[in-house]
């Protein structure tokens, strides 16, 4: 059996075990509910079109604007309907618009003549969306790399803690163990995101905000390769951290640098996302580029060649971290007496074939 086959077996076991894990299943379900609620509910809550009471004579333009028109016999009845709360607004002769406590914008717009508008930057993004999208990208990367990275560390430590690692190492190359875990984590992470994305897209269709999707598509397309490489980068760190300790309880202690490598870029992207030069820098730094570069593509700030350069930088960095992580993993995997220092793990790697 070669390394590839061994890697596949290891990855398959990791995935099988995870798919039976209640915490993981409930976590996924929870995210799906949030995705569904976040996309379906807001349009529903904002209610249908405004209802307006009006006499038949003045109803024409209101109907044309798609408002919920209730025909009343006269102005007095219209006013009464507003006071009773039967309708949002009324249009009486004048014409004047009546409402209780809030100007009914849609009704006013239906009766006004708007000056012609010429957009100079037609592609610019709605400010609300512009605020939300970075947050969602950063959040998805943050949560998934944290969850699945920690899971990789736990799986590594479990094998040390239960001592099964010695049987495994005698049977398959250490590299296959490491690769299997990272690949399984990546597949599960991407699978979970894909599932959430499907629910979110379906939600947008139901909630009728599908237009956003067309805007987001290129950014999402770039997010996938960036996410995968960023995930591998972090997973190598998590696996090394997990191999340094012997007990699940000790993972928190050794993983602080990894946590920071996830947390700092997350907050940087969240807080600096309207600072163009900061975002340019972040979109090339390996730990923040998985979120920052797709964002700059989304807002249209990045030139066409930029994601390729950033992706290449990320690829080289991830490669280097995998090599270093594998060395620490190999050097500490069989040291089952207490915590291993990074230095000792780096030096003491066994040269086994």
């Amino acid at each position: 059996m070669n390394v590839t086959q061994a890697t596949r077996l290891v990855a398959a076991r990791e995935i099988r075990v995870k798919l039976r894990d209640r915490t993981f299943l409930f976590g996924t379900l929870f995210f799906l509910l949030i995705a569904a609620a976040g996309t379906i509910l807001p349009p529903l809550l904002s209610g249908g079109p405004e209802s307006v009471a009006v006499t038949e004579a003045a109803a024409g333009p209101l109907r044309a604007a798609g408002l919920d028109v209730r025909v009343v016999p006269d102005d007095r009845a219209a006013e009464q309907a507003v006071r009773d709360g039967d309708v949002d607004a009324a249009v009486v002769s004048g014409p004047a618009v009546l409402a209780l406590d809030e100007a009914p914008d849609d009704v006013v717009r239906a009766l006004s003549t708007a000056p012609p508008v010429r957009l100079l930057d037609p592609d610019a993004v709605d400010p609300v969306v512009a605020f939300l999208v970075p947050f969602v990208f950063a959040f998805v990367f943050f949560i998934t790399s944290q969850t699945f990275g920690l899971q990789i560390a736990q799986s590594v430590t479990e094998e040390k803690q239960t001592r099964i690692v010695e049987i495994l190492v005698a049977a398959v190359p250490v590299r296959a163990l490491l690769a299997g875990k990272v690949i399984a984590g990546g597949i599960l992470a991407l699978g979970q995101i894909a599932l959430i994305a499907v629910v979110a897209v379906a939600g947008m269709q139901i909630g009728d905000s599908g237009g956003l999707l067309t805007l987001l598509a290129p950014a999402i397309g770039w997010f996938v390769p960036f996410f995968l490489l960023g995930f591998v980068l972090l997973a190598a760190m998590w696996a090394a951290a997990g191999a340094l300790v012997n007990r699940q309880e000790d993972i928190a202690g050794v993983s602080t640098p990894v946590q920071l490598a996830v947390m700092l870029p997350f907050f940087a992207v969240i807080f600096l996302n309207d600072n163009a030069s900061a975002m340019r820098a972040l979109s090339y730094l390996p730990f923040s580029s998985p979120t920052a570069m797709p964002l700059r593509l989304f807002t249209g700030d990045a030139a066409g060649w930029e994601p390729f350069v950033s992706l290449a930088i990320l690829l080289v960095t991830a490669g280097a971290f995998v090599v270093a992580g594998a060395r620490i993993y190999e050097g500490s995997l069989l040291r089952t007496n207490g915590r291993t220092s990074v230095r000792a793990a780096w030096r003491e790697r066994e040269s086994i074939g």
Binding site: M1, A6, L9, V10, R13, V17, E158, Q161, T162, R163, I164, V165, E166, I167, L168, V169, A170, A171, V172, P173, L334, T336, E350, S351, I352, G353
Partner: protein
Amino acid sequence: MTRTLRLDGVDRSFGDRQVLKNVSFEVAAGRMTGFVGANGAGKTTTMRIILGVLAPDAGEVSWGGATLTRQDRQRFGYMPEERGLYPKMSVREQVTYLGRLHGLDAPAARRATDALLERVGLGERGDDLLETLSLGNQQRAQIAAALVHDPEVLVLDEPFSGLDPLAVDTVVAVLRERAASGVPVLFSSHQLDVVERLCDDLVIIGDGVIRAAGSRQRLRDSYTVPRFELVVATDAGWVRDEPGVTLVELDGARAVFDLPAGADEQPVLHAALARGPVRAFRPVSPSLTEIFREVTQ
């Protein structure tokens, strides 16, 4: 199939401490080879080097005359000293998984697992999570995990520690079957009585040096002076005055004594018969414990 596992001049140090010094011995096909030594003598390190979990600083391990490769080792069965399987996986699933990691395809791994679990008495607990089994049953699962791929060589570090007597019998029977089918079996133990009962060959290690190796009988013959037990009707104290006798133990009518190597024991028997009835007169084989003491001193 007469393939031999051989270690040649294996050295290994951890930091400044050399734990194996020029370790050489053989594990012959079809033989149960006991590997004994005090704690820290180097048993586990030796076994880890055989399995490729540790690398030797010098020397080599060969199998059937050729240096061991990873492909060879994949067909070895190994039970490490520190036991462990996945606590949250069922017994059947993880034994099957380990079978596949050792190169079996899925149907073969399932068949081997079912047969083996039945054999070690876990047939009905196969679908239980490992952590729900008693420690004794977890040990049986561990044995199954080491044997699932029908290994060509078995290396077992303390396979009997923590086993109840019934389980010891089961495991002994399973190991004997494997040895009888031509597999070299190397097992370490500090329970010398078990080793004595079980092994054909013996390797004794002390402070990282092989002190003795060979068949059990040959070791017995070569590592002890001739020793005899005499039981007479009355007090046996007179034996100490017979020529050449070194009295080892005297308990009323019973005496245990050594003679110089090559000496004839019959004159002592004649002397005893001359004094009265002799209830028993026989050579005493030294126990493994005694050999062990002698060679590791």
